[in-house]
């Protein structure tokens, strides 16, 4: 047996080597350029999603809406690509390189994990514009879009503190990283500034694993635990995991869920739970993505870094459903305080 398997191994190894040697000539860049050169620039927009995919009803979907709007209004076509769980930078670089090679312009990475990869790929394709959401890449042909999530979350905190009857509210984060901590910090401060008596129960699905953005079952479990402890308003910032938490909250009498990134009340996939969705902290990813695509179409591509803040409506609180109409004056007032600079919202938890 040993001799045979050794023989087989030798044959296989030499076959692989021969294949490697024979195929060395052409790289995919060369062959693609041959095919696509004439039509480059016409192909449209490439958008690479974070884990969870396009239909996460939340973060990625917001970016997709920006792309869809651009298709409608600007007549471009958009190619969407999705990340797998547990990807490395090599995977992300490959995806972005492939998009740029195919001639897509601009190429947009959705999620801060794309930051390094965008910097790397942008250097190789100086004629393509690269955008990334939630990160600030380097290079003249890149555009970083970040958001004042803490300011939007502050308003969610105000709403939660006013709406709670048990005096306990909860925050569920997908992964305990600096980005999601911004949501937590703003929410906690909003609650504390409105009603110092209200306590905030904070939970993260994972400490350091991006599965946190695609694990609705775990979010449902944690929401269940919180509801059991008497929490009656839960704000979940966890991408597609948020669905699990919203479903759980919908099953509890008198409890409210606060959505994130997209207006989750309007999400077709969440229609049966919409009566429990108090509001959502909308992150204007769609606006940012549309702006970038439009700028490229108009041949004046955006570059550098822009932070979309509450003052310019980059983040906002959704009013659909009308559940927060009764507290609109207080929210208006809180918004004004932030815009005027009377309140400085912390972006890291205390």
């Amino acid at each position: 047996m040993r001799r045979v398997s050794r023989l087989a191994a030798t044959i296989a190894a030499s076959a692989v080597l021969a294949l490697t040697a024979s195929a060395c000539g052409e790289s995919s860049t060369e062959s693609n350029q041959n095919e696509n050169n004439e039509e480059s620039g016409e192909l449209g927009v490439g958008i690479a999603f974070d884990v969870g995919g396009r239909n996460d009803h939340s973060f990625n979907e917001a970016a997709a809406r920006g792309g869809d709007l651009a298709e409608e209004e600007l007549g471009v076509t958009v190619e969407y690509q999705t990340a797998r769980n547990g990807e490395t930078d090599a995977d992300r670089v490959q995806r972005l390189t492939a998009l740029a090679q195919e001639g897509y312009n601009p190429v947009i990475g959705v999620g801060f994990l794309y930051g390094n990869a965008i910097t790397e790929v942008a250097a190789e394709f100086p004629d393509t514009t690269f955008g990334v959401v939630d990160s600030v890449p380097e290079g003249d042909n890149t555009f970083g879009m970040t958001f004042a999530e803490h300011e939007g979350s502050y308003l969610a905190g105000v709403a939660a503190a006013l709406k709670t009857e048990s005096g306990q509210v909860g925050f569920i984060g997908g992964v305990e990283n600096p980005l999601i901590q911004k949501f937590q910090a703003g929410f906690e401060q909003g609650v504390a500034d409105t009603d110092p008596e209200v306590t905030v129960d904070v939970n993260y699905l994972y400490r350091d694993d991006d599965r946190g953005f695609s694990d609705p079952a775990r979010a449902a479990e944690q929401a269940d635990g919180m509801l059991g402890r008497g929490v009656d308003v839960i704000y979940t910032a966890a991408g597609s995991s948020g669905q699990g938490s919203i479903e759980q909250v919908a099953g509890a009498e008198g409890a409210w869920a606060i959505g994130v990134d997209s207006d989750q009340y309007e999400q077709p996939g969440l229609v049966e739970y919409q009566d429990s969705i108090l509001t959502s902290v909308i992150k204007g990813v769609d606006v940012a993505v549309f702006d970038l695509i439009e700028s490229v179409v108009n041949e004046d591509p955006l570059s550098g870094h822009h932070e979309y803040t509450l003052a310019e409506n980059g983040v906002s609180l959704a009013t659909s459903g009308g559940f927060i109409d009764d507290i609109a004056p207080q929210l208006e007032e809180a918004t004004q305080r932030i815009v005027d600079g009377d309140v400085e919202v912390q972006d890291t938890p205390q």
Partner: protein
């Protein structure tokens, strides 16, 4: 009497039958899945072959296969003695984290610092796996349970230290350890258009050491003996407890190296974007490569090939999940095919032995039937 040549041909048939059966089954099932979902499997395979054989794809696949191979070797050391080290994932992350911390804190010349980083990683991996080995040897706790639990403990340990002001710094939304100095980066093999990571020499060295230590030394023999039967090994004078602990330490030390290609050739630090789950991929690759030093290399390359071409498939309108389906089907086919071929081989052998015995008996009582029929 059957000559040695004849025996070899018999085994050659068995040796070729299993991989062949596995490949045919995997291709057939994958094609069926694609047909069922309304895709054209033949175009998919041709896209994959075409794109995967491009020179930049080859470099990418090799670089991707390096950590996979190391993870598979770490898992295989345990497999060879019936130890299921599910904790390679936690071991390499803990190891890579502390190696990155040490690497970021020192600024020695590369020739000194790289070995220090590698040794730190191996030591941390060995310690993390050693805990499970120690518990198994002294308390009889199943290593499956302890290594899985140590994965979570390792994750929490890293999450605790990987915070601004502890052992990490913050760069926008990414928290990572201090960058290692440029001189500590591993060399690269210049190929066109992208370089191959120099850490491939680590993988090759581990592969040779794996083959030699397990196949050609007394320790390797003891280890495999314990895997076959603990009682028999104990009776023939092998200390089972010591072998368990040593195997876990070795497995952990190799696991410690899994993160090194990423750390020393790519990222230069351990951040929240450091790859996870390589340990679990390693289990699949060890199964696929039949714990064989070369087989695992081929399996790791196959895995890299599938991942590389999967992204390309998405451009062609296929769902990229099809690659995950393929990976699963291939592993299952290999495991099932080897078992089927093994059983078929045993039956075939029994029948042949039976025929030979019958022929020998007939030869004694009557004239040789072979001569009559001829």
């Amino acid at each position: 009497m059957s000559s040695p040549l004849r025996v070899d041909r018999e085994k050659l048939v068995l040796g070729v039958a299993a991989p062949l059966l596995a490949i045919v089954t995997a291709v057939a099932i994958t094609s069926a899945v694609m047909l069922l979902t309304g895709d054209n499997p033949f175009r998919a395979f041709s896209v994959m072959l075409d794109y995967g054989s491009k020179s930049d794809s080859q470099v990418w696949i090799i670089n991707k296969a390096i950590p996979y191979y190391l993870a598979a070797a770490a898992v295989a050391i345990g497999f060879r003695m019936n130890l299921f080290n599910i904790g390679v994932d936690g071991q390499y992350r803990v190891a890579a984290f502390f190696a990155a911390v040490v690497g970021g804190a020192l600024s020695l010349p590369g020739i000194v610092q790289i070995p220090i980083i590698l040794l730190t990683a191996m030591a941390c991996g060995a310690i993390w796996a050693g805990i499970a080995g120690y518990l198994k040897a002294t308390r009889g706790v199943s290593e499956v349970i302890t290594t899985i639990m140590l994965n979570f403990i390792g994750g929490s340990l890293i999450a605790y230290f990987l915070q601004e002001g502890r052992l990490a710094e913050r760069d926008e939304n990414i928290v990572h350890t201090t960058d290692i100095p440029d001189s500590s980066f591993f060399f690269e093999i210049p190929t066109d258009p992208y370089p191959i990571h120099g850490s491939i020499v680590i993988a090759v060295a581990v592969g040779i050491a794996y083959w030699f230590v397990l196949g050609r030394t007394r320790f390797g023999f003891d280890l495999r003996a314990v895997g076959r039967s603990e009682e028999a090994a104990e009776a023939s004078g092998v200390s089972v407890k010591r072998t368990v602990v040593t195997a876990m330490l070795l497995s952990g030390a190799v696991a410690g190296l899994v993160g090194m290609p990423t750390l020393l050739n790519e990222s230069g630090n351990y951040g929240i974007d450091f790859p996870e789950g390589l340990g679990f991929t390693g289990i699949a690759i060890a199964l696929l490569g039949r714990n064989h030093a070369v087989g695992m290399g081929l399996a790791a390359l196959l895995w890299g090939f599938l991942e590389r071409t999967g992204t390309q498939l998405e451009f062609e309108g296929y769902d990229q999940e099809i690659v995950g389906v393929m990976q699963g089907i291939i592993v299952l086919s290999v495991v099932v095919a080897y078992e089927l071929v093994r059983r078929w081989g045993i039956r075939r052998q029994q029948r042949q032995v039976g025929e030979q015995l019958a022929a020998a008996r007939n030869g004694k009582t009557a004239t040789d039937p072979a001569e009559v029929s001829a």
